[in-house]
Symmetry: C2
Subunit: 418 residues, 2 copies
């Protein structure tokens, strides 16, 4: 992969440190280097989950999805039971034909042997170069050593083993109340392009000690993904390998049984899960390739929430908006352009644009004599807020997050030779 | 605007020179500087068209279209008659409210006064910064001088007056046969992002001395745009000002009357018009902001032509594919990613990818032992060809053109301050 980028420097938008993560009953992790990366960086992580752990998953919509994505989809259809997870960097196992699926099968069989379970309870994910056969023998060879290292506290090591062009490991934790009992949620993620397929990919794994049926878990996960990972973009490219999995061990103590996703006892859990996943998603954007600014785009006054999201992404994906932010240029004309090309109904006469909370355009033109100084000051900061009111009478709204487009992105993606 | 970019250097992908353009009976042009640009570069061009000239137009689909786009759409609905065209750079007249439309109206009224016709026969287009009121008094003040300068040979001067971040003026000419009589087609265009709204925009104007009814002209233009300007992308951004107009003066001699677009006597004209517009469209890509490579993406084996076009644009718009080409990296994994995210049906097992005519991936994986040397050599050239067979039994195919994504693009769009 591209270790020089990892070594060069940590993203200026990174959190100060990896958060302290509590143990989660029923979860043990291990990570190490098995030789998939040219560097000696760690590239493999294994998680053992307590028997009766339930699972839910959301995957890339790409039609050229990786072999491990295809495997994990199938495993999930088997009833939503999980005993383990294996994740490697240093090879995405995409477009590797029948051999790619064999590599996943051999790998999960080996993990299942270690954990004395059937292979359909083992989930898998890979990230790295597309089209390169996965050296699964290296993974299998490292398994006994990793099994011996399994520990409940190895969150940061596990997050690090997934990194490719990521410049920092990503983790988040929350405590939620279910029927008067505290349960814990831990999540780890990787991703630094959205999503560079040969050097990055978005992976996120969330674990809780709550006891929740697989179908409830699936509903909660789908809702939370919609609010988090489906609201970010770095470069508008979609990975072949994007995978988000949620596991519930049921080992956190006896809260009252939950049988449906609409149970009011889940209110806090639902909110905390979404919060944790927004946290991880924002960390992915903060590690966006070449990013120097974190951009929040908020759209209101659209006909529907869906329309608002499409307008917000039209802004967030626009290379011209993203380069303007990189240049600290409050170029609202480019925002008008991006709103116009989204294809959603707007009222140009009532369209309003604010940057850093300062209205810069409304009523069909620039705000007469607006004070440019606070806007210019805002553009110089690391956090840039763009808000748009589309001017319709609909109440549609959405928030998405992205980063700027800089020379660093070109450095990483053009100056790199495979 | 950004004169430094113009002065810096001409795109390495530019044609050797502006082509020799014959006169077209019934067309006279003039260009000059009226002070809309901060530099003293020319920024205004006027065309006088013979009475009874017919007109057709295709405009941006943006919902925040410029005032001149709105005017020209309305003028076209008036019956497709044209007596003049006025085009300025140095200000796009977009998001300028009621004053923006007043500026267009005052301008076209002044042109109509010069040409003794009604304003609805005058077409208008503008390119430049969004949101800045158009100083139409400067335009009106310059009109008498430009009228005195009208000449049939001022094609290059007219093309230059439309330039913003363009590094070279764009023109093309063709001769076509209609029922045994030669007619001439001349076209001029501007554009260097697809399309930077504040420093660029795609404008193209085509003139012929053929005698064709407005409805026939409109059909021919729409067909030709679909094959040319709707097949290019630089950065996936859509201008608020894109305008393509086709004018037929009927002054080229008496060919037999054409009353319908399906008349077989139009076969050669139709082909030459499309060829001319593909030529202009490719020149726009060759002047793409920061471009160092011209990329042709050809997709076959898709379910429909529409599906093929969507797959081709998914590749041509991918920042990761475009940066890989900039880096001369034959990274076909990124092409697999872009095919996968297009959302169109493909057969991964039969998907084939070739670079520079050399198959690099098929049958679900890399082509075993393919010769990398000619592929690497091809990537070093200025013309890069990517072809994809989507592997379905449908015969859908499409070709689109784009350029690479380089530090030059970031320089132009981020390092520039408005």
């Amino acid at each position: 992969m591209s270790p020089k980028h990892n070594e060069e420097k940590i993203s200026p938008l990174a959190p100060e440190s990896f958060p302290p993560m509590p143990d989660i009953a029923g979860v043990a992790l291990a990570a190490g280097a098995c030789g998939l990366k040219k560097s000696s960086d760690s590239d493999l992580m294994v998680v053992e989950l307590a028997p009766d752990t339930t699972a839910a998953g959301v995957f890339t919509r790409s039609l050229t999805a990786s072999a491990p994505v295809q495997w994990s989809r199938k495993a999930l259809r088997g009833g939503g039971q999980a005993r383990g997870l294996i994740v490697n960097s240093g090879g995405a196992n995409v477009f590797t034909g029948a051999k790619g699926m064999q590599a996943v099968e051999r790998t999960v069989e080996a993990v299942a042997d270690q954990f004395f379970c059937c292979p359909s309870k083992i989930f898998a994910a890979s990230t790295g170069v597309i089209g390169k056969p996965l050296a699964f023998d290296k993974i299998i060879g490292a398994l006994p050593r990793l099994k011996a290292d399994l520990a409940p506290g190895a969150w940061q090591a596990a997050a690090k083993a997934m990194m490719t062009t990521d410049t920092f490991p990503k983790g988040a934790t929350r405590t939620a109340d279910i029927g008067g009992l505290d349960v814990t949620l831990n999540g780890i993620a990787k991703g630094s392009g959205m999503i560079a397929p040969d050097m990055a990919t978005m992976l996120a794994f969330v674990f809780t000690d709550a006891a929740l049926p697989a179908d409830v878990l699936q509903t909660l996960l789908a809702e939370a993904v919609e609010k988090s990972f489906h609201r970010i973009t770095v470069d508008s490219d979609t990975s072949t390998s994007d995978t988000v999995l949620l596991f519930a061990t049921g080992q956190g103590g006896d809260h009252r049984p939950i049988t449906g996703a609409e149970d009011g006892g889940l209110d806090d859990f639902r909110a905390k899960l979404a919060g944790l996943m927004v946290d991880l998603a924002q960390q992915v954007v903060r590690d966006g390739e070449g990013a120097t600014k974190f951009i929040t785009v908020t759209v209101g006054g659209a006909e529907t929430d869906h329309a608002a999201k499409r307008i917000a992404f039209s802004i967030a994906n626009s290379p011209l908006v993203k380069t303007a932010v990189a240049g600290e240029d409050a170029n609202w004309g480019r925002i008008v352009m991006a709103v116009g090309k989204a294809g959603e109904t707007i009222d140009p006469e009532r369209l309003e644009i604010a940057i850093g909370g300062v209205p810069v355009a409304k009523a069909g033109g620039a705000v007469p004599g607006y004070d440019e100084a606070p806007v210019a000051e805002h553009m110089k900061g690391q956090e840039v807020n763009i808000s748009v009111n589309a001017g319709t009478s609909g109440g549609g709204q959405a928030t998405v997050w992205t980063c700027d487009l800089t020379h660093g992105y070109i450095d990483i993606n053009a100056d790199y030779r495979s």
